[in-house]
Symmetry: C2
Subunit: 166 residues, 2 copies
Amino acid sequence: MTRRGAFITSVGDLLASWNLPHATGRVYGLLLIREEPVSLDAIAAELELSKGAVSTAVRQLDSWGLARVIPQPGSRRLLIEATAGIESLLEASHARARTLIAALRDGEDLVNPGPAQDRLHDVIALFAGYVDVGSQMLSSCRRQGLGSGPREAGPAGGAGEQSSHP
Amino acid sequence: MTRRGAFITSVGDLLASWNLPHATGRVYGLLLIREEPVSLDAIAAELELSKGAVSTAVRQLDSWGLARVIPQPGSRRLLIEATAGIESLLEASHARARTLIAALRDGEDLVNPGPAQDRLHDVIALFAGYVDVGSQMLSSCRRQGLGSGPREAGPAGGAGEQSSHP
């Protein structure tokens, strides 16, 4: 695999762990190493994806704030550019984790007080703490102006709604 | 769905975001609300899984330090008990993310110095910072004695090796 190809695959693998489809992550990887905005056709050619697949990937990246779609005046052609804004994606992942952790807390009274309830309490506290520090880190990045700056949470029904079963 | 069923599904969904198969997460959910060690047959019956599927799930939980298998003297019967040790799972997820981030850093020179290289640098810094705070949080939990205490990293070829493409 070329160094470009290896880079693009790594970005795809990394974003897959935040519930983004692998093809979408690869498109983001390609956009990150392009110095100029690029057309759907050029993306499809380099990644050997259908134009429909690229179009879906670009819509997802756009809705998560990971890419910007730039219309060309007087043409139907669109150019696509990466942004550094991975916060929405991570925030959606946090929101999803928090919903699940709330469901776990609801279940604490399924267990009688004693060692099993203490164990459950520990597990929930670990997960909750883990998600909290991630959120704090995102907030501090935002204050420092890293990434694409403030942005609303991701789209309803977006990638963060899907679970990621291997 | 019963409250037990909802709880078990939530644990399955949450652990799926750390690359554990959904059935394995559900088995962990059931073990967490059982106050006594439980047999493979009892797990299979409650979760409507085959005994083979439960056996696979228990092996995974055991290798990740999420469950303990207790042999019964004079019998081939095994009893299974949850532990609160989610650190190995999160650590494996960090290790995997760090490998991918290292691959991204290797790609920084695919882009000429300028705005595109700055953007790439920002994205990598965000991901790396995110993984670092998660690791720090795990270390501080371990110092406080939360979870199952120190444990070696997860098994080679385990769930953390898989990527999670929805």
